[in-house]
Structures are given as structure tokens and as C-alpha cells.
């Protein structure tokens, strides 16, 4: 599982990262985290607001803070896609 967080380091980006880490540990799965903080890099992704959250290269949320329950359901979908 690969998780990428797009955001220049604003409080909301940190919140999303924290929530994603909690979700991962609740599911008991392994995941690598990558943070993209460079604005010019961020604008290359198809998102219209930070923080952006990508699971396995797919944008699942942008411009807002998703709930932990939502992140867990996206992770579960991504896991079944992997298999």
C-alpha cells in the first residue's frame, strides 16, 4: 500500500497524515508514506485544493479533511483492488 499526501505543510495536511496513519494501524496493514510539499509538484496532480490524499496513486480526497471512517473504507477498497 502506498500513501501519498499532497500539501505544503499546513495544519490540515498534518491532520490528514495523522488520520491516515491511525487508519493504517487500525487495519493492521503495512503502508509506505510519501509527502509532497513542493507547490509546483503538487499542482501537477489533478487536485484543486490541499491537502490531497492518494492511495496507490489514485486521488481519493482533496481540499478537505476526510473522516477516519472514510479513509478506512478507501483503504479497504484499495486492498481488494490489489488482490
Amino acid at each position: 500500500m502506498h500513501i501519498r499526501i499532497l500539501g505544503p505543510g499546513c495544519p490540515n495536511c498534518k491532520k490528514v497524515e495523522a488520520l491516515a496513519r491511525e487508519a493504517i494501524s487500525e487495519l493492521g496493514i503495512e503502508a509506505s508514506f510519501e509527502k509532497v510539499t513542493d507547490m509546483a509538484e503538487i499542482t501537477k496532480y489533478p487536485i484543486m485544493g490541499t491537502p490531497g490524499l492518494l492511495i496507490n496513486g489514485k486521488v481519493v480526497s482533496s481540499g478537505r479533511i476526510p473522516s477516519k471512517a472514510q479513509i478506512i473504507s478507501w483503504l479497504t477498497t484499495a486492498m481488494s483492488d490489489e488482490q
Binding site: P11, M39, T43, P46, I47, M48, P51, R64, I65
Partner: protein
């Protein structure tokens, strides 16, 4: 040695007085509601409500005004501006509207406008809005004419999603804005003290003398203490608001309400304490009651996100603002008035250009440009160049130019920076001429 101590104490005193000026009741009455409005814009207006007008097939008549409006409501936070800008340019309505959005976003945000109005004057605040929107659209149009971009690639139409803002949310916004207006508007109905209550409690002469030596009055002291309490309560009550509200959350809200009400009251301390019930106090009390009732019919999660966004702005902006205000007060003592008068005391094109260039090369955190501008005004800067500075400062800084050039490319950025410089200079100059003509 004595000279240095003398200077240090003069400077600290100057910083302190400037701080008191900015924490004064009338400034808090505008700033506190403005933070809550900014939070509401960021939490309750879905991006799609505006971006649906910014898609690749939108007509120019719609997309340019929508981009300007989007700059006002969506760009409260700088973390939205660049991604949305790139989105509008590459996947949406194209370079022109994207540039309009990029320009209007930082220039016209609710916090900056409200603060400018309270600290400098409504004339500058209104000119800041109107001229930013007009020139934002003109600069966008020019850029799109000069760089004929290829058609936008429509990969997935991210702009076709619809979103509506419900009637209760509109009402909620209206009431929040009404608090801001009731707090700042200077009309007799609001400013008059309708009746007053004498509190049978005299302040000890020693306390009064201490307050006097700090250039502080009773109301000012109470407000500063309340702000400190709000800070502490908010830390405990709003940091985890997205998960749940706790007792501290309610305490924070209660403290904010009491602070606003105290700021709206007139307090006299000659002899015994006389509390004046002003029109502001009455109207704000009614509005706050209406807000509480309206909030009950909003979704719980929406309210949580609203409080979180408000707290996020306050925590990010307020500490820097206090430092900025203090430093501006100190610097004012050090800069000889003669310099400012020579450079920008009259409304010439050169003076306006100087204002713009100062804005480009100096970087100030959000809102700090306002006390800086006030400092220049006190030192004798003309209101024209002052407006030119205020228009350019939030939009252009060395840092933002560097980031923009990596997204836009060097040639486009050079032209953009050139256009903003020219138009801000002209805007300040024209504003100065209008002032002269109407004076």
C-alpha cells in the same frame, strides 16, 4: 549606555501603544467576526459551487466574474490558491480566468478587507475590493490575449460537479456578516448609548494609576485578559473539534460571545464604573441569539469543520499579527518622517511605483501588511501610494514570484508581474486623483 536603555524603553513603549491600538474594542469587533466568517467560507462553501462556472466550456462572460468571486470566497487559505489556479488553467476555463483568480485571491480576502476598514479607513477597504476585481479581470484578459494557449485538455471534467449552498447556510452567513457590519458601521443608531447603568463599585485609585501608566483603560484590560483566556480555552476545546466537541469548546464559544459583547459596550471609569448600553450592543446581542438558533439547524459536522477552520486561521494568523503590530510600532519611531514624505508624500506615479516595489520586496505574513500600511500613513504617506502598496503586497512577493514562475514558466510570470506592477501603480494613482477631486 543610558542612551541605549532610553532608546529601548522608548521603542518598547511605542510597540506597546501600537499593540493597544490594534487590540482596541473597535478592531476586535471587526476582526473576531471576520475570523468566523473566513472559517465559514472555507468550511461551508463547497468548491464546486463556484468551480462549476470555471469549466473548460464556460463562456468568458461567466468565467471571469466567477474567477474573481472564487478568489474572494475560496482563496481564504493560501493552500487553495495555487492548486486551484493550476486546475483552472490546465483543466478548466484557461489561463485568463486562472490569472484573475490568482490575483484576486490574496488581494481580496474577508480578513484583510475587514481589518483594513477598521484600522485604516473604509475608503481604502472599498477601493481595495473594487480595484482588485476590475484589474484582476483586466490582467486576466490581457494575459489570455497575449498568450494564446492551446485548448485545455479535457481529461476528466472535474468542473462539471454541481454543488449548492443550502438556504440555512446562506442565512447563517448573512447573520455572521451582519455582526461584522453592526460592529464596524459608524452610524448614530449603533454608536449611541441608549441608556447606561452605574455599577456601585469604584476602582481603586492605585489600579487606575497603574492602568493609566500603561495607557490602558478598564475595558482594554478586560479585553486583553479575555483574549488570553480564549486562546487557552480554544487550545483545549478546538484542537480536536473535528473528532468531538468537549466542555472547553463550549467555554471557548461562551468566552468569544462575552468578549464581543464587552467590546460593543461603552465603559466609563471616571469615579464609579458606568456601563453604557449602545445600539451596537443591542443589535449584536440579537444577532448572536439568531446565529445560535440558526446553527441548531445546520449539520453537526458542518459546525465542527467551521470551528476548526476558524481556529486554524486564528492560530496561524493572530500570533504573527501581534508580533507584526508591535514591531511596526517600534519601527515607526526609527524611520524619519522626512523619508516617507519625500518618497511617497504626494500622489505621483513614481510615489505609487515606490509603494508597489516596497510591497514586492518586503514579505509580511497575512494581515501584517495592514499595520505596516497604517505606520506609513502615520508617517505621512499619501493614500494613493498607500493603496498601491496594499494592492501589490499580498499578491506579489519574491517568494510567490518564484513559485509562480515554476508553474507558469518564466515568460508568462514576467509578463504577469509586469502587469500587476503597472496596474497597481495606476490603481493607486487613480485613487489618489479621485480623493483629490472629491476632497
Amino acid at each position: 549606555m543610558n542612551d541605549i536603555l532610553q532608546l529601548a524603553s522608548t521603542l518598547i513603549k511605542a510597540g506597546w501603544i501600537s499593540l493597544l491600538d490594534y487590540l482596541a474594542a473597535h478592531v476586535l469587533l471587526c476582526l473576531v467576526p471576520a475570523f468566523f466568517i473566513a472559517g465559514a467560507m472555507s468550511a461551508l462553501i463547497p468548491r464546486e459551487a463556484v468551480t462549476k462556472y470555471l469549466g473548460p466550456r464556460a463562456s468568458k462572460v461567466v468565467s471571469y466574474p466567477a474567477a474573481a468571486l472564487g478568489g474572494f470566497v475560496l482563496a481564504v487559505c493560501s493552500c487553495t490558491i495555487l492548486p486551484l489556479f493550476a486546475g483552472i488553467w490546465k483543466r478548466g476555463a484557461g489561463l485568463g480566468p486562472a490569472i484573475t483568480f490568482l490575483f484576486v485571491g490574496p488581494a481580496v480576502n474577508i480578513l484583510a478587507i475587514a481589518y483594513t476598514g477598521a484600522a485604516i479607513g473604509m475608503d481604502i477597504a472599498i477601493a481595495r475590493i473594487v480595484l482588485s476585481i476590475i484589474f484582476g479581470i483586466v490582467i486576466g484578459l490581457l494575459m489570455s490575449v497575449l498568450f494564446k494557449d492551446r485548448e485545455a485538455i479535457i481529461e476528466q471534467d472535474a468542473f462539471s460537479t454541481e454543488a449548492r449552498v443550502g438556504p440555512m447556510i446562506w442565512l447563517f452567513f448573512g447573520l455572521l456578516v451582519a455582526v461584522l457590519i453592526a460592529g464596524t458601521l459608524q452610524v448614530d443608531l449603533l454608536t449611541r448609548t441608549w441608556f447606561s447603568v452605574t455599577v456601585p463599585l469604584g476602582l481603586s485609585p492605585r489600579l487606575l494609576a497603574t492602568l493609566g501608566s500603561l495607557d490602558l483603560n478598564l475595558q482594554g484590560l478586560v479585553l486583553i485578559l479575555m483574549l488570553a483566556l480564549i486562546g487557552l480555552a480554544a487550545h483545549a476545546g478546538l484542537e480536536d473539534i473535528l473528532e468531538r466537541a468537549n466542555g472547553w469548546t463550549w467555554a471557548t464559544l461562551a468566552l468569544v460571545i462575552v468578549t464581543v459583547l464587552i467590546a460593543a459596550t461603552s465603559v466609563q471609569t471616571a469615579g464609579s464604573i458606568v456601563v453604557g448600553i449602545t445600539g451596537k450592543l443591542i443589535s449584536i446581542t440579537l444577532l448572536l441569539a439568531a446565529i445560535t438558533i440558526t446553527a441548531r439547524s445546520l449539520k453537526r459536522e458542518d459546525l465542527q469543520v467551521w470551528l476548526w477552520e476558524t481556529w486554524r486561521f486564528a492560530r496561524q494568523i493572530f500570533p504573527l499579527l501581534i508580533v507584526g503590530v508591535f514591531v511596526a510600532g517600534m519601527v515607526k519611531v526609527l524611520i524619519p518622517e522626512q523619508w516617507i514624505r519625500t518618497l511617497a508624500g504626494r500622489n505621483t506615479l513614481l510615489a505609487n511605483l515606490t509603494g508597489v516595489l516596497f510591497g514586492v520586496f518586503m514579505y509580511f505574513p497575512t494581515l501584517v501588511e495592514v499595520p505596516i500600511a497604517r505606520m506609513f500613513l502615520d508617517l505621512g504617506m499619501h493614500r494613493g501610494p498607500l493603496l498601491a502598496y496594499l494592492l501589490a503586497d499580498p499578491v506579489l512577493s519574491v517568494q510567490s514570484i518564484l513559485v509562480t514562475s515554476r508553474i507558469l514558466g518564466r515568460r508568462r510570470t514576467a509578463l504577469y508581474v509586469g502587469l500587476v506592477t503597472v496596474f497597481s501603480t495606476l490603481a493607486g494613482w487613480i485613487f489618489g486623483l479621485v480623493l483629490l477631486a472629491t476632497a
